[in-house]
Every structure is written in structure tokens, then in C-alpha cells.
Amino acid sequence: MKSIERLKSQPLTWIILVALALMLTLSFASPYFMTLGNMTNLMKQVSIVAILAAGQGIVIISGGIDLSVGSVLALSAVTIGWLIEAGVPSGLATIGGLAVGTLAGWINGMVITRGRIPPFIATLGMLGIARGVALVITNGVSYQVLDPLFLFIGNSKLAGLPIPLFFVIGVYAVICVMMHLTVLGRHVYAIGGDERVARLEGIPVDRQKVKIYMLCGFLSGVAAVVLVGRLAATPPSVAEGIELQAIAAVIIGGVSFAGGRGIVATALVGALIMAMITNGLNILGISSFYQQVLIGMVIIAAVWLDNLKSRSG
């Protein structure tokens, strides 16, 4: 009985149940939903938002927000394309892309902690800056990336599963360990719970925050690697507005927007739920206009349910 009680109090349990219910409903509604082809497609679709949502989840649990993930993703992607175009080996180009993402995150962190600029404003600034720099570098043109490494990432399968899925699994495995087993993870929760207390108790809040935003920037770079693989190109205007999807995935997952509460892994399920809604309604032939309405309602419902739960608990 006690283990059932524990299971019930786990936020992950609830969100997985919701996702399963949705999956079941859609597979009854359309015979095409549960096919291997569609599932593979779904996994690919969800991978980029899911990776971004992992970084976003950490930032939101720490009490912040990062609006720049989409633009930083584009900048990282463009960097990769630009380096490959210049004849740099794909491995080094990948490292370059990841480094640029991490650097953007570092700048976010420094502006927030040293400049005392609220995260919303600082990362809103970076949203514009990173996108602008991506456009400047490329002069608005998309590079083609026909490198074997990226073709492999975008199109190959391992054990029957698309490669981007392994990126997602890898990212979430590392982040779960980081959040729940390491000192940094504990500090993320403490800072999100009460930043003033964390500071008084000697947590190096500013240093840890810089790390958090760097990690989020790095994950935007990882998402860029997957994106470049999938598109085989680096359009500088790619992934506009994707930051809102990442935030929505985190919120649908049940992470408290106030910080300090929630599990990053639920963001993965949140991203899946959104992708299933889009994918399922596409299969059912329902207009994409309705999809936006539905996802909007799901976001509000998720927070409303969460409020109900915390009030009754």
C-alpha cells in the first residue's frame, strides 16, 4: 500500500498515465496512429523540442526562464553549417556548434547574475541577438549540410530506432542523474525553492545559475546537431517560436513555474503529449488551427490540475 501511495505522489506517474490515455485514445481513433512508421516519425518530431525542454526544465526549476533557446539553436546550427562550408571536419564543426550554444548560455547567466537583469529580459535580449547574429553570419542564406555524420544522425536507425531518439534518451539520462544525485541538482532545487535562503546558507547562487544557463545553452547546441541532421541544411530562421513549445512541454509535464518543484523527466512526457496531439489530429485530418487551440487548452488544464492537486495535498 505504501508503495502505491508513493507512486501516486510521484508527478511522473500522473503525467505518464495521461500520455498513455492519449495514446490509447488516438490508436482507437485511427488505425494509422500506432504504426511503426508513424511512431518513428513522432519520435523524430518530438526529439528537438524534448531536448530543449530538458534545459528549459532545469532553468524553470531554478526559478528562471530561458526564452533564447530557439535562437541559440539556430545560431548553433548556422555555426555548424558555416564551419562545414569552410571545410572544417564535421566532428570539429559539431564541437564548434556546441561551444557557441554554451557560450550564449554563459552570456545569459552572466547578464542575469552580474548585471542583475531578470531572466525574462536577459534571455529575451538573447533571443534577438542570437537570431540576428545567425542571420548576419549567413547573410540570410541556408547552408546545405551533406556531411555523412549529419546524414547518419538525421536518417539512420540503430536497433530499429531513429538516432535522434538516442540523443533524447542520453540527454534525459544525464540530466536526471544531474538533478537528483549531484550537488548541482540539489542547488537547482534550493535556488528555485528560496533563492534568498540558498544565498544565506552559503550556496554560490550566482555561480550555479551561470552553470544552469550554460547547460541550457549547451542543450540548445545538442538540439541543433539533431536539427542539422534532420534538415541536412541550416536555415538561419529555423525553429522560430520553438522556445514556447519547450516551455509548454515543461509546464504540461507539471513543473511548477514558481520554481523549486517538479521533475525534468516530466518535460519529456509533456513534449510527447504535445507531439501526439499534433500528430494525432493530423492523421485524423483535423485542421492545424484547432491543434493550436487544443494545445493552448492543455497547457492551462495542466496547471489547473496541478493547482488542484497541491491544494488538496
Binding site: T182, V183, R186, Y189, V197, L200, E201, G202, I203
Partner: protein, 255 residues
């Protein structure tokens, strides 16, 4: 009198926030095994003074000596390394974390950056039971506990790490009578162990019965520092309000 080295000496401490002068040339000393009451009404500078000692604020001028050695306290960790712990007026716990997580906050037991959760849990369990503190679950969020339980966790945390100097800012303000008494008993015990305790309170009755010496501040300046029983409660109150020291010629020590 034999020379006892004070645990803490603060000399010529001044602090201003922009144009606001919070402290002017303030002195404070604290000896082992005593409770020093710091008194003054709101805005007298008590909180600023102890925040400086705790490393939460930096003074603009002045020096601090701990055990006779000059100390530079730039942040809360510096203060902790010197054995200075603070219990704040507002319960300084993260409500979303468990008791062990709060107890070890900022100095988590770790190995290569990984938390040693079991070790922290066991040690927290021991620390709490040593002080006769009972909480329903070590895994429960601190937010779900009563004010007294949370204050107990704060105290357990403060005295757990080889503490020499304990600063208590209105430690009983949020507590009921019963819980306050428990805290007081705890303090008597800590005093016996030779800790120096700085006790900040508005409750003049509590201060009178409980402290060995008092330091009164007014408008960010020292009014008087003297043995508590050299004055009556009424005299102490009048010094807090007027900001003027009452001269003692006979019997007591002239200040």
C-alpha cells in the same frame, strides 16, 4: 580579572546603504559561554550588525576579530568557516526540501560532486535526535511542518557544524510558549558547551531573564554595553527609546 580572549570583537563598524547611514562606529564583543542580548527598536541597526558578522553584508568601515585574530568575512561561508552560525528571524529553510537537505544546504556531503544522500540522512537523524527534536519524516518537505519543528531544524543545522558563535535573530518570534521554552532549554545547553550566543529580541522580559549582558543600539550607534542585571527592565526600555545611557556611579560599572 584574568584575560579571556573574546570570541568576537567588532570595532568601529560603519555601514551605509546609499545615503542611509545604518551603523556608525559600532562596537560589540562576545565571550565564550555567555548570552549577549542586542537590543534596539526597528531600524536601530541590530539586523545590519549581525548580518555583517554573518557575512551577509560587508561593512564600509571597521574590523572584526574572531578569537583574537582579525577576520575578513566576505560571505556566509567565510563566517561559517570561523564557526559563526546564524538563525534568522524569518525561518531560513527551503520549504521545498527535506530536513536533511536543509541541514546540509550549502555544504552537502559529496563525493566527486555526487550527493552522499544516505550519509546525510543518517547524520541528520542523529543530529535531530541528539537535540530531542522529533519530526514525522526525514523525507517530508519542510514546508509541511510546524513553525516549532522548522525552527528546531534551523537550530540543529546551526549547531551541527562545530559552531562557536551562534547568532539568533528573534528566534522565538514565530513560536508558541511551549516551543519557545524548548528553544531556551536548548540555548542553556549550548551555553554550557561554551558557545557564545548573540540574542536579538524585542521581548524585553525574555532578554532580561535570559541574557548575561546587553548591548543597546539606537540610530545605528552604541548606547551602552553592560551586565543585564545592572539595570532594571524599565531602565533598559528607557535607554532603548531615548538612546541615552543611564550613568551608574555606585554599585554598577560607569559607562
Amino acid at each position: 580579572m584574568t584575560e579571556i580572549i573574546p570570541l568576537v570583537e567588532m570595532h568601529h563598524i560603519s555601514k551605509h546603504f546609499g545615503g542611509l547611514q545604518a551603523l556608525t562606529d559600532v562596537h560589540l564583543d562576545l565571550y565564550p559561554g555567555e548570552v549577549l542580548g542586542v537590543l534596539g527598536h526597528n531600524g536601530a541597526g541590530k539586523s545590519t550588525l549581525i548580518k555583517i558578522l554573518a557575512g551577509a553584508e560587508m561593512p564600509n568601515e571597521g574590523s572584526i576579530f574572531v578569537n583574537g585574530h582579525e577576520a575578513h568575512i566576505g560571505n556566509p561561508n567565510d563566517a561559517r568557516d570561523l564557526g559563526i552560525e546564524t538563525i534568522y528571524q524569518e525561518l531560513a529553510l527551503c520549504g521545498n526540501l527535506s530536513a536533511p537537505a536543509n541541514l546540509f544546504m550549502g555544504r552537502e556531503l559529496q563525493k566527486w560532486g555526487f550527493l552522499r544522500k544516505r550519509a546525510m540522512r543518517d547524520e541528520a537523524d542523529k543530529a535531530l535526535s541528539r537535540l530531542n527534536i522529533r519530526i514525522k519524516s526525514l523525507d517530508a518537505e519542510v514546508q509541511s511542518m510546524s513553525g516549532g519543528q522548522r525552527q528546531s531544524i534551523s537550530i540543529a543545522r546551526a549547531v551541527h557544524f562545530d559552531t562557536k558563535i551562534l547568532i539568533m535573530d528573534e528566534p522565538t518570534a514565530a513560536l508558541g510558549m511551549e516551543e519557545s521554552k524548548k528553544v531556551m532549554d536548548l540555548i542553556v545547553e549550548l551555553k554550557k558547551r561554551g558557545l557564545g550566543i548573540i540574542w536579538i529580541s524585542h521581548d524585553i522580559h525574555e532578554v532580561y531573564n535570559f541574557t548575561d549582558r546587553i548591548a543597546i543600539l539606537n540610530g545605528g550607534r552604541n548606547v551602552i554595553t553592560a551586565g543585564t542585571r545592572e539595570f532594571s527592565q524599565d531602565e533598559i526600555v528607557s535607554m532603548i527609546i531615548s538612546g541615552k545611557a543611564i550613568e551608574r556611579d555606585a554599585g554598577g560599572v560607569a559607562q
